[in-house]
Symmetry: C2
Subunit: 314 residues, 2 copies
Amino acid sequence: MADLKVVALAGGVGGAKLADGLAQVLQHDQLTIIVNTADDFTHFGLRISPDLDTVCYTLAGVANPETGWGRLNETWHVFESLQEMGMPDWFQLGDSDLATHLVRSMRLHEGHTLSQITQDFCGMWGIDIKVLPMSDDVIQTWVYTNEGDLEFQEYFVHQGCRPIIKGFKFEGAEKSKPAPGVLEAIDQSNAIIICPSNPWVSIDPILSIPNIKAALENHLVFAVSPIIGSRTIKGPAAKMFMEMGVPPSAKAVAQHYGRLIHCLIIDNSDNALVKEINELSIRTFVTDILMRDRSDRGRLAREIIEYINAYVRG
Amino acid sequence: MADLKVVALAGGVGGAKLADGLAQVLQHDQLTIIVNTADDFTHFGLRISPDLDTVCYTLAGVANPETGWGRLNETWHVFESLQEMGMPDWFQLGDSDLATHLVRSMRLHEGHTLSQITQDFCGMWGIDIKVLPMSDDVIQTWVYTNEGDLEFQEYFVHQGCRPIIKGFKFEGAEKSKPAPGVLEAIDQSNAIIICPSNPWVSIDPILSIPNIKAALENHLVFAVSPIIGSRTIKGPAAKMFMEMGVPPSAKAVAQHYGRLIHCLIIDNSDNALVKEINELSIRTFVTDILMRDRSDRGRLAREIIEYINAYVRG
């Protein structure tokens, strides 16, 4: 599988875990990770890119495995000072995480692009695979809810995903361009992997960029279900399916991606759904898709790459 | 002296010390501190107001007495992370200090003025006297040197005041307005005290705002010499006098302020200069002007206020 080239689309924690697994299995020139940036936001005047940070911290081995966000061995001195000053504390900012946001914000202010900055961060953190933001343009997820239209982090972190979802908007997506290298990586790839990230708010924003959607249509796309049984491992994907009127399941994920994907990788426990998913003209690869620890990530990635390799070679 | 109303003009450390002394001696409605903001700058995208912070931290009792800047019991986690990321480390940013800059930057970004923010900070830090930035407009000190034109913090902190001074510019001053409350405080005062701050880069920027300069001309102005013998207690004032072609001394300070001031408060050790200063039509009050500790600040402030009180009452 040395000549296989893979592009993975990723959002937050689930995406970061599989990205880490793929990085264990593939050579650095075989893998490009394209990361959602539509939940980026500005907080205390700082530009924060939660998904890029989660992916990069995970690949660098400095992510906090307990929380799914932020850094290992983090301290909270600035955050405590902000709390003492009566500032909003719904978005937690660790000290070393804050340094990332400060540098990113400063460099954006100086005119550098998010993709240049991300490349430099990867270099600094010893990440040798290519990690690309989906776009250098500002694209912002809005969540339409029964409590009004909310910016994504307001819904996700501040409101704790409590409001009932009515729909989504990816503001700025229509006129946005993919970041440099994104279309090239897709063009040169044999296979696209959609990581087990939230379809609604991690993957759909990437697909909302017209040129990326169009480029993917000519490629073999393998998605890993973020749903096992009727539940997500982490995050609100199952709740979102429910509120959008679709009972959450691996089949619902297959229907969500539809013709875009050629194969859905689902959990052993969802084996009973194989026939129904295949009837949607989507193949299935059934295995243990739960990533409990770092070796699990490598194990799942290896199985997926072997499956893709066999698939590509017919 | 209960009906005396005083306005003090202050820059960094020397200004903060005397402001603290005056706050010990006067009632909160008798004192307004107007602070230089021309050495404010943007660093890591954050708006930093060194003189306002030094004055407020000192009045709040949280200033670091060792350094003259920053806070007591400070930690450096973010700064160490920034250093690890290879970022410029010539301007030190402690964790709790950083929280101040984050909140100020966020609120400026939201459209609040520096004077509103400063008022709220004072409320939060239990400072009951009025502290006003000289202006809500951006005014920036440039230092002309033998190594080119330098932004103030570049000269002061990064270059450690090493380049030879040729002159100064307070960019934006001509068209600037005093912050709300500044002219009112001056109008209602019986006396203006120019703190022992650097005449060239702490006090001159305040005087460079046309309406402030004009308002002061109708008032009794008492300046405290920042120079004892031929030296400053802290900072580059003596070096600046020298490089501007004037041997540094209390007399040089008197000449610098000229007709603006009615009295110069000088150190016992400079008693020999009394006659020469008086010949400039500037009175002298001679005492121990060195503020070694907090009680010294109160002692000097009390002596100055008693002197002013006697002066005002003729």
